[in-house]
């Protein structure tokens, strides 16, 4: 009987989700394809400060965040800074429609992840999640959700990472 309990315990523990990567740890690598059809890897951006953002068109705070990401890109695109926005819409047309409605074109990297392979690597616990990765590929700041009051924090954190 104890064998059966043991087997059930192992199976139960095996299906538990993995721990999320912590601040100070290397960002889990991933590969993806952008909406333009380019293949990218997170490692391609080593040497740059990366803002990794998980978003979807069905997520209200993500929709509110997107114009701010465009502002950030406009402000920092001449610096070693890149935004990688991971879109997790299962219907890609919804994401395209949303981006077309924005007052300005999205010029940063938007990865399509309709099969939602990348979020489990980071075990995000809310949408949107924005993760700031330094030039060495280390996770330095982590934001869950979006409010207008967060904007100043993002800017000061990016400035800090760019100075390093």
């Amino acid at each position: 009987m104890s064998k059966i309990f043991g087997i059930l315990l192992v199976i139960t523990l095996a299906v538990f989700p993995k721990d999320a990567p912590q601040i100070g740890q290397p960002a889990p690598p991933f590969q993806g394809t952008t909406f333009d059809g380019k293949k990218i890897e997170l490692n391609d951006f080593k040497g740059k400060v990366v803002l990794l953002d998980f978003w979807a068109s069905w997520c209200v705070p993500c929709r509110e965040e997107m114009p701010f990401l465009i502002d950030l890109y406009n402000r920092y695109h001449k610096s070693p800074f890149e935004i990688i926005a991971i879109n997790i819409d299962t219907k890609l047309d919804n994401a395209r429609k949303f981006m077309d409605q924005l007052s300005e074109n999205v010029r940063f990297t938007v990865v399509k992840d309709s099969e939602q392979q990348i979020p489990p690597k980071y075990q995000i616990n809310g949408m949107p999640t924005s993760i700031l990765i330094d030039k060495k590929g280390i996770i330095r700041f982590w934001h869950t959700g979006f409010k207008a009051s967060y904007k100043e924090d993002y800017i000061s954190e990016i400035d800090e990472l760019l100075k390093e």
Binding site: V15, A56, W58, D89, P119, I124, P128
Partner: protein, 72 residues
Amino acid sequence: MLKKLILMGFIFLWVWLSGCATVRPWERESLSDPIMIMDENPIDSGVKQHYLDYREGSVGATGEQSGGCGCG
């Protein structure tokens, strides 16, 4: 006999509890659809609630369904 019953009860409980799944944030696309609101006319009610929020200057406690982190 008692041992068998306990074992069967435990297995039943395990199978039953393992049916409870956490919906991860990236899996909430269907849940964020207005159709998931427990209301006969969810879209109409959402619009009315939106007007009410602005008119009364108060928001919340409506059991509103939406996507995102819910921390906004």
